[in-house]
Symmetry: C2
Subunit: 135 residues, 2 copies
DNA sequence: GTTTTTGCAAAGTATTTGCAAATGG
DNA sequence: CCATTTGCAAATACTTTGCAAAAAC
Protein backbone atom coordinates (compact mmCIF):
# COMPACT_ATOMS: atom_id res chain seq x y z
CA UNK A 1 0.00 0.00 0.00
CA UNK A 2 0.91 3.66 -0.55
CA UNK A 3 2.99 2.81 -3.63
CA UNK A 4 3.28 6.34 -5.11
CA UNK A 5 2.63 6.26 -8.82
CA UNK A 6 3.82 8.76 -11.36
CA UNK A 7 1.60 11.74 -11.98
CA UNK A 8 2.04 14.37 -14.67
CA UNK A 9 0.41 16.93 -12.42
CA UNK A 10 2.73 16.27 -9.53
CA UNK A 11 5.81 16.52 -11.74
CA UNK A 12 4.58 19.80 -13.16
CA UNK A 13 4.10 21.24 -9.68
CA UNK A 14 7.56 20.19 -8.59
CA UNK A 15 9.08 21.52 -11.79
CA UNK A 16 7.31 24.83 -11.41
CA UNK A 17 8.56 25.25 -7.85
CA UNK A 18 12.12 24.48 -8.90
CA UNK A 19 11.93 27.02 -11.71
CA UNK A 20 10.19 29.88 -9.97
CA UNK A 21 12.03 31.66 -7.24
CA UNK A 22 9.13 33.62 -5.87
CA UNK A 23 7.14 31.77 -3.24
CA UNK A 24 3.81 30.96 -4.82
CA UNK A 25 0.60 30.05 -3.04
CA UNK A 26 -1.45 27.03 -4.07
CA UNK A 27 -3.71 29.28 -6.07
CA UNK A 28 -0.84 30.95 -7.92
CA UNK A 29 0.51 27.52 -8.82
CA UNK A 30 -2.93 26.42 -9.97
CA UNK A 31 -3.39 29.50 -12.16
CA UNK A 32 0.02 29.06 -13.75
CA UNK A 33 -0.39 25.34 -14.43
CA UNK A 34 -3.82 25.92 -15.94
CA UNK A 35 -2.10 27.55 -18.89
CA UNK A 36 -0.49 24.28 -19.98
CA UNK A 37 -2.93 21.83 -18.36
CA UNK A 38 -6.38 23.36 -18.62
CA UNK A 39 -8.04 20.52 -16.72
CA UNK A 40 -5.93 20.43 -13.61
CA UNK A 41 -7.98 21.11 -10.51
CA UNK A 42 -7.20 23.11 -7.41
CA UNK A 43 -7.82 20.07 -5.23
CA UNK A 44 -5.10 18.19 -7.09
CA UNK A 45 -2.69 21.04 -6.58
CA UNK A 46 -3.38 21.08 -2.85
CA UNK A 47 -3.12 17.29 -2.57
CA UNK A 48 0.20 17.16 -4.38
CA UNK A 49 1.66 20.08 -2.49
CA UNK A 50 0.81 18.34 0.77
CA UNK A 51 2.29 15.08 -0.50
CA UNK A 52 5.50 16.66 -1.77
CA UNK A 53 5.93 18.53 1.50
CA UNK A 54 5.42 15.31 3.45
CA UNK A 55 8.04 13.58 1.29
CA UNK A 56 10.39 16.45 2.05
CA UNK A 57 10.78 17.41 -1.61
CA UNK A 58 9.37 20.90 -1.09
CA UNK A 59 8.75 23.13 1.88
CA UNK A 60 5.52 24.72 2.97
CA UNK A 61 5.67 27.88 5.02
CA UNK A 62 3.67 30.86 6.13
CA UNK A 63 4.46 34.48 5.37
CA UNK A 64 2.15 35.60 8.16
CA UNK A 65 -0.80 36.46 5.98
CA UNK A 66 -3.37 33.69 6.01
CA UNK A 67 -2.04 31.92 2.92
CA UNK A 68 0.41 29.02 2.73
CA UNK A 69 3.42 29.37 0.46
CA UNK A 70 5.65 26.77 -1.12
CA UNK A 71 9.24 26.57 -2.27
CA UNK A 72 11.66 23.96 -3.60
CA UNK A 73 14.74 25.52 -2.01
CA UNK A 74 15.50 23.27 0.94
CA UNK A 75 18.69 24.96 2.11
CA UNK A 76 18.33 26.79 5.43
CA UNK A 77 17.35 30.38 4.81
CA UNK A 78 14.77 32.85 6.00
CA UNK A 79 12.17 35.06 4.35
CA UNK A 80 11.42 38.73 4.12
CA UNK A 81 7.83 39.81 3.63
CA UNK A 82 7.10 43.28 2.28
CA UNK A 83 4.08 44.81 4.00
CA UNK A 84 3.71 47.20 1.08
CA UNK A 85 3.61 44.94 -1.99
CA UNK A 86 3.38 41.53 -0.35
CA UNK A 87 6.52 40.18 -2.03
CA UNK A 88 8.29 37.33 -0.28
CA UNK A 89 12.08 37.41 -0.68
CA UNK A 90 14.75 34.96 0.36
CA UNK A 91 17.20 36.10 3.02
CA UNK A 92 20.22 33.98 2.37
CA UNK A 93 21.89 34.41 5.74
CA UNK A 94 21.72 31.13 7.56
CA UNK A 95 20.60 32.16 11.02
CA UNK A 96 18.69 28.99 11.64
CA UNK A 97 21.62 26.74 12.43
CA UNK A 98 23.04 29.17 14.96
CA UNK A 99 19.69 30.05 16.52
CA UNK A 100 18.67 26.44 16.80
CA UNK A 101 21.75 25.60 18.81
CA UNK A 102 21.17 28.59 21.06
CA UNK A 103 17.56 27.59 21.63
CA UNK A 104 18.35 23.94 22.29
CA UNK A 105 20.56 24.83 25.23
CA UNK A 106 17.69 26.11 27.34
CA UNK A 107 14.94 23.78 26.16
CA UNK A 108 13.91 20.35 27.38
CA UNK A 109 11.94 19.41 24.27
CA UNK A 110 13.11 18.46 20.78
CA UNK A 111 13.64 21.17 18.18
CA UNK A 112 13.20 19.84 14.66
CA UNK A 113 12.75 22.95 12.61
CA UNK A 114 13.03 26.71 12.79
CA UNK A 115 11.51 29.45 10.67
CA UNK A 116 12.58 33.08 10.61
CA UNK A 117 10.47 35.77 8.96
CA UNK A 118 11.33 39.42 8.57
CA UNK A 119 8.71 42.07 7.89
CA UNK A 120 9.12 45.56 6.52
CA UNK A 121 9.61 47.43 3.26
CA UNK A 122 11.40 45.70 0.40
CA UNK A 123 14.16 47.45 -1.58
CA UNK A 124 11.87 48.11 -4.55
CA UNK A 125 9.10 49.74 -2.48
CA UNK A 126 11.68 51.76 -0.55
CA UNK A 127 12.96 53.20 -3.82
CA UNK A 128 9.46 53.94 -5.00
CA UNK A 129 8.55 55.95 -1.88
CA UNK A 130 11.78 57.92 -2.14
CA UNK A 131 10.87 59.07 -5.64
CA UNK A 132 7.36 60.06 -4.55
CA UNK A 133 8.73 62.29 -1.79
CA UNK A 134 11.13 64.12 -4.08
CA UNK A 135 8.52 64.83 -6.76
CA UNK B 1 -12.88 61.22 13.67
CA UNK B 2 -11.77 57.83 14.92
CA UNK B 3 -12.16 58.87 18.55
CA UNK B 4 -12.00 55.41 20.18
CA UNK B 5 -14.66 54.99 22.81
CA UNK B 6 -14.55 52.65 25.77
CA UNK B 7 -15.86 49.16 25.23
CA UNK B 8 -16.39 46.50 27.88
CA UNK B 9 -15.71 43.81 25.30
CA UNK B 10 -12.41 45.28 24.25
CA UNK B 11 -11.25 45.62 27.85
CA UNK B 12 -12.19 42.01 28.54
CA UNK B 13 -10.18 40.80 25.53
CA UNK B 14 -7.14 42.77 26.59
CA UNK B 15 -7.47 41.60 30.17
CA UNK B 16 -7.79 37.98 29.07
CA UNK B 17 -4.64 38.20 26.96
CA UNK B 18 -2.68 39.74 29.82
CA UNK B 19 -3.81 37.00 32.17
CA UNK B 20 -3.45 33.95 29.96
CA UNK B 21 0.03 32.94 28.98
CA UNK B 22 -0.94 30.43 26.32
CA UNK B 23 -1.42 31.98 22.89
CA UNK B 24 -5.12 31.79 22.18
CA UNK B 25 -6.81 32.02 18.80
CA UNK B 26 -9.78 34.34 18.22
CA UNK B 27 -12.11 31.40 18.70
CA UNK B 28 -10.52 30.36 22.01
CA UNK B 29 -10.87 33.93 23.26
CA UNK B 30 -14.47 34.03 22.10
CA UNK B 31 -15.31 30.74 23.84
CA UNK B 32 -13.71 31.88 27.08
CA UNK B 33 -15.37 35.31 27.10
CA UNK B 34 -18.74 33.76 26.40
CA UNK B 35 -18.70 32.34 29.92
CA UNK B 36 -18.92 35.80 31.47
CA UNK B 37 -20.49 37.71 28.57
CA UNK B 38 -22.95 35.35 26.89
CA UNK B 39 -23.84 37.86 24.19
CA UNK B 40 -20.42 38.72 22.88
CA UNK B 41 -20.05 37.82 19.23
CA UNK B 42 -17.15 36.35 17.30
CA UNK B 43 -17.14 39.33 14.95
CA UNK B 44 -16.61 41.67 17.88
CA UNK B 45 -13.70 39.57 19.09
CA UNK B 46 -12.06 39.70 15.66
CA UNK B 47 -12.68 43.42 15.29
CA UNK B 48 -11.19 44.23 18.67
CA UNK B 49 -8.21 41.95 18.22
CA UNK B 50 -7.45 43.70 14.95
CA UNK B 51 -7.86 47.10 16.57
CA UNK B 52 -5.70 46.27 19.60
CA UNK B 53 -3.00 44.86 17.35
CA UNK B 54 -3.09 47.99 15.22
CA UNK B 55 -2.75 50.14 18.35
CA UNK B 56 0.25 48.03 19.33
CA UNK B 57 -1.31 46.87 22.59
CA UNK B 58 -1.22 43.21 21.63
CA UNK B 59 0.60 41.15 19.02
CA UNK B 60 -0.89 38.91 16.38
CA UNK B 61 1.22 36.08 15.05
CA UNK B 62 1.07 32.80 13.22
CA UNK B 63 2.18 29.45 14.59
CA UNK B 64 2.29 28.04 11.08
CA UNK B 65 -1.06 26.26 11.22
CA UNK B 66 -3.72 28.29 9.47
CA UNK B 67 -4.93 30.09 12.61
CA UNK B 68 -3.89 33.47 13.96
CA UNK B 69 -2.79 33.68 17.56
CA UNK B 70 -2.63 36.60 19.94
CA UNK B 71 -0.56 37.61 22.96
CA UNK B 72 -0.12 40.60 25.24
CA UNK B 73 3.59 40.00 25.85
CA UNK B 74 5.31 42.63 23.72
CA UNK B 75 8.89 41.89 24.75
CA UNK B 76 11.00 40.34 21.99
CA UNK B 77 10.79 36.57 22.19
CA UNK B 78 10.09 33.63 19.92
CA UNK B 79 7.68 30.71 19.94
CA UNK B 80 7.90 26.98 20.00
CA UNK B 81 5.11 24.98 18.38
CA UNK B 82 4.65 21.33 19.34
CA UNK B 83 3.72 19.25 16.32
CA UNK B 84 2.31 16.60 18.64
CA UNK B 85 -0.12 18.50 20.88
CA UNK B 86 -0.19 21.89 19.13
CA UNK B 87 0.90 23.82 22.22
CA UNK B 88 2.57 27.16 21.61
CA UNK B 89 5.29 27.99 24.14
CA UNK B 90 7.37 31.12 24.66
CA UNK B 91 11.08 30.87 24.02
CA UNK B 92 12.50 33.62 26.14
CA UNK B 93 15.86 33.91 24.43
CA UNK B 94 15.96 37.17 22.57
CA UNK B 95 17.35 36.20 19.21
CA UNK B 96 15.40 38.82 17.35
CA UNK B 97 17.53 41.78 18.20
CA UNK B 98 20.73 40.03 17.19
CA UNK B 99 19.27 38.46 14.05
CA UNK B 100 17.75 41.70 12.94
CA UNK B 101 21.07 43.46 13.04
CA UNK B 102 22.68 40.60 11.12
CA UNK B 103 19.98 40.71 8.48
CA UNK B 104 20.05 44.48 8.11
CA UNK B 105 23.70 44.42 7.10
CA UNK B 106 23.02 42.64 3.82
CA UNK B 107 19.65 44.09 2.98
CA UNK B 108 18.69 47.23 1.10
CA UNK B 109 15.12 47.38 2.38
CA UNK B 110 13.76 48.30 5.81
CA UNK B 111 13.34 45.61 8.45
CA UNK B 112 10.62 46.50 10.93
CA UNK B 113 9.84 43.22 12.58
CA UNK B 114 11.13 39.69 12.91
CA UNK B 115 9.42 36.47 13.98
CA UNK B 116 11.15 33.25 14.94
CA UNK B 117 9.23 29.98 15.28
CA UNK B 118 10.60 26.64 16.40
CA UNK B 119 8.86 23.39 15.65
CA UNK B 120 9.28 20.00 17.28
CA UNK B 121 8.21 18.05 20.34
CA UNK B 122 7.48 19.92 23.55
CA UNK B 123 8.91 18.78 26.91
CA UNK B 124 5.57 17.31 28.03
CA UNK B 125 5.06 15.23 24.88
CA UNK B 126 8.66 14.09 24.99
CA UNK B 127 8.11 12.75 28.51
CA UNK B 128 4.91 11.05 27.47
CA UNK B 129 6.53 9.14 24.60
CA UNK B 130 9.37 8.03 26.87
CA UNK B 131 6.90 6.43 29.25
CA UNK B 132 5.11 4.66 26.42
CA UNK B 133 8.34 3.09 25.21
CA UNK B 134 9.33 1.75 28.61
CA UNK B 135 5.93 0.14 29.29
C1' DG C 1 -27.38 64.04 19.18
C1' DT C 2 -23.49 62.26 17.06
C1' DT C 3 -20.05 58.78 16.70
C1' DT C 4 -18.35 54.40 17.81
C1' DT C 5 -19.21 49.76 18.89
C1' DT C 6 -22.00 45.71 19.00
C1' DG C 7 -24.53 41.34 17.67
C1' DC C 8 -26.08 38.85 14.11
C1' DA C 9 -25.98 36.77 9.83
C1' DA C 10 -24.22 36.59 5.40
C1' DA C 11 -20.26 36.73 2.51
C1' DG C 12 -15.50 36.04 1.51
C1' DT C 13 -11.08 33.31 1.47
C1' DA C 14 -8.28 29.29 1.93
C1' DT C 15 -8.12 24.47 2.28
C1' DT C 16 -9.89 19.73 2.65
C1' DT C 17 -12.64 15.89 1.34
C1' DG C 18 -16.03 12.28 -0.89
C1' DC C 19 -16.67 9.98 -4.92
C1' DA C 20 -16.89 8.09 -9.53
C1' DA C 21 -13.94 8.15 -13.50
C1' DA C 22 -9.24 8.09 -15.36
C1' DT C 23 -4.55 6.74 -15.19
C1' DG C 24 -0.25 4.09 -13.85
C1' DG C 25 2.11 -0.09 -13.11
C1' DC D 1 -6.91 -5.77 -12.93
C1' DC D 2 -5.75 -3.33 -8.68
C1' DA D 3 -3.96 0.80 -6.44
C1' DT D 4 -3.31 5.51 -6.87
C1' DT D 5 -4.50 9.86 -8.69
C1' DT D 6 -7.67 13.04 -10.79
C1' DG D 7 -11.50 16.51 -11.56
C1' DC D 8 -15.37 18.19 -9.77
C1' DA D 9 -18.31 19.87 -6.34
C1' DA D 10 -19.56 20.12 -1.79
C1' DA D 11 -17.97 20.76 2.80
C1' DT D 12 -15.17 22.84 6.28
C1' DA D 13 -12.37 26.32 8.69
C1' DC D 14 -11.14 30.93 9.54
C1' DT D 15 -11.92 35.78 9.01
C1' DT D 16 -14.26 39.90 7.32
C1' DT D 17 -18.19 42.74 6.49
C1' DG D 18 -23.04 45.16 6.06
C1' DC D 19 -26.43 46.83 8.78
C1' DA D 20 -29.71 48.22 12.25
C1' DA D 21 -29.71 48.59 17.25
C1' DA D 22 -27.15 49.69 21.47
C1' DA D 23 -23.69 52.05 24.05
C1' DA D 24 -20.34 55.82 24.85
C1' DC D 25 -19.50 60.55 25.32
Amino acid sequence: MQALKYSRQREAIKELLITRKDHPTADMIYTELRRTQPNISLGTVYRNLALLAELGEIKKFSAGDGVDRYEADLTPHSHFVCRECGAVLDMKLDHQTKIRHLAEKNFEGIIEDCSVNFYGICPACKQKSKKQKSS
